[in-house]
Subunit: 336 residues, 2 copies
């Protein structure tokens, strides 16, 4: 059984390169979403406390079983801790034996951005060069690089109420894009964008910009509206766009669409990938991927990172499962 | 964050001694059961496959969050693998940060036996010296030693259809008990027993012995009846005994009581521990603890083993959580 800690994941990403890693992961995500009905899907298991939430997100097909442990503690930052940390496991369905335990704080940021890129591949115009990002938190750089791995993005407009966060973004990605512009408002940032990513942290019903601020033909990746009472877009924009979700029952609770009802959902992403419903049809319509995150996405990255760790022989081998000659003699093994 | 592998757990048990460990664990279990209403309890999450099951069992109070990953693959033995393996995690509820990952195949066997001993403490006669065990699989030795940690057991009668399994039990525990007798039938084994443990593996509705075979005053720890369609005792014996369960909604599906209905349940164990209902009242009644396993039990052993690992500084420190100065700069940490 393999253990991938922070340094193992960093070493894998450095070794392969984030862009190549994204391309491989996006391919896996597309394959897994296309096999939507072969997955055992179930709601996440959550325990809510006064000050946070702890969740288990299991997912499985007939080959691998995966789960992610993830928390959400908004007040952690004040103590110098991350609000969200995660770890995950992959197991062999045939035997039930665990194969790998891994950090998933980085992997969650990476898979979340890869899902955005997968959505854009089907929903954005192919000639997108200008990206706007509203919200420059921990997720923002991952989003920008993932989008660049599927589209010819050269310019990025960013906006955040925290100037330090914008500077951090600019510094981190100065070599990745021709031009990065720090803007003074969300509306300024999106004014000439082909793609908009909304990824703000405020836990409230916000309206970052209005329908009239959005140019025809834009694709919006709305990912900051991802919990009950946490939204970023107004209903007029939602109503007049082509709205795509991952999994309707979950999105109706957690996504932008919680403000409306199921009739405003055009499709689930897997339906577009499989050609059952149309993606983008012309250069004029506004598309919105109202993404909240789904356990299959964790499954996909756990599968990819497991394959890579086997190929490169990374991480540490750990003995968490007894290696036993006589399965009835567990006590004998303990006595040894 | 601490990782406890097989050798760390073995080293802890060798260091402390299994009997002393049981005493500490039984105390913790009693304390946790007595705080029954302070726990966030929820059904286990299970995915059923043609050839097995994979489960997540979460449990939490306001201090610690725990979960166990556990499988059940009856055909694994044919390939030289264990049918059931497990691993677990303990996290800090205040921050949501994981504190420990540990093997739980051994720990599950140990906590299951400790629960049996806790039940016997409240339900068996104090002067029990003769124990009968029906089924000599992986769990059997753990059960015997746990019982001995709370009661003056000196003789053990055992029966299993597999003679090798009985010999294994006798050899493993020859120094622990004055007398161990391999019997030729379950009825012979229980004929003069003060306590009976039923712990067979067959996945069917079985009747290991009948009501008339059981002496007055006996306590039966019925733990092999622990899944739908898997029982070990007949309804006449159940109806004429004082029957205790861990958690009625789960036991009515998985326990011996699945053959009857809720009206035959005398109490949940926590009610007896807290004095809300009576345990054993005299030396004549037959008591049955219809135990199926419950997530609080995993919580208790994870808490104890975490405390001990801190005291003894055992296991390995692993970096599964990013240690970050600026929580908004996850990408910067990856680039380093």
């Amino acid at each position: 059984m393999r253990l991938l800690d922070i340094s193992a994941i960093k070493s894998i990403i450095h070794n392969i390169g984030l862009t190549i890693f994204y391309q491989r992961l996006i391919k896996q995500l597309e394959e897994d979403f296309s096999q939507w009905h072969t997955f055992y899907k179930s709601p996440r298991h959550a325990i809510h406390y006064k000050h946070g939430v702890i969740e288990l997100m299991p997912c499985s097909d007939d080959e691998f079983y995966s789960f992610k442990y993830v928390n959400g503690h908004p007040n952690n930052t004040a103590e110098g801790n991350l609000c969200v940390v995660a770890m995950g496991m992959l197991a062999d369905v045939k035997t039930g034996y665990p194969l790998m335990i891994t950090e998933m704080t980085f992997l969650t940021a990476i898979r979340t951005a890869a899902v955005a890129a997968l959505g854009a591949k089907f929903l954005a115009r192919k000639d997108c060069t200008k990206l706007a990002i509203i919200g420059c938190g921990a997720q923002s750089e991952f989003q920008a690089i993932a989008m660049q791995s599927v589209l010819p993005i050269s310019q990025v407009n960013i906006f955040d109420i925290d100037t330090d966060a914008m500077n951090k973004f600019s510094n981190n990605l100065s070599e990745n894009f021709k031009q990065i512009t720090c803007c003074t408002s969300a509306i300024e940032a999106i004014s000439d964008a082909d793609i908009i990513i909304t990824v703000t942290a405020a836990n409230k019903n916000a309206t970052l910009f209005s329908e009239e601020n959005v140019a025809r033909g834009t694709h919006i990746h709305a990912m900051g509206g991802d919990g009950p009472g946490k939204t970023e877009l107004g209903t007029s924009l939602l109503k007049n766009s082509k709205l795509i979700v991952e999994y309707s029952p979950q999105s109706l609770v957690e996504g932008e669409i919680q403000q409306l009802d199921e009739s405003y959902i055009h499709a689930e992403l897997w339906e577009i990938i499989n050609g059952l419903k149309t993606g983008r049809e012309n250069n004029h319509e506004v598309t919105i991927f109202d993404s909240v995150g789904f356990a299959i996405e964790d499954y996909s990255i756990l599968k990819v990172i497991y394959e890579i760790s086997e190929e490169l022989d990374c991480g540490t081998k750990v003995d968490l499962i007894p290696d036993i000659d006589n399965p009835k003699d567990l006590y004998g093994l303990l006595k040894q």
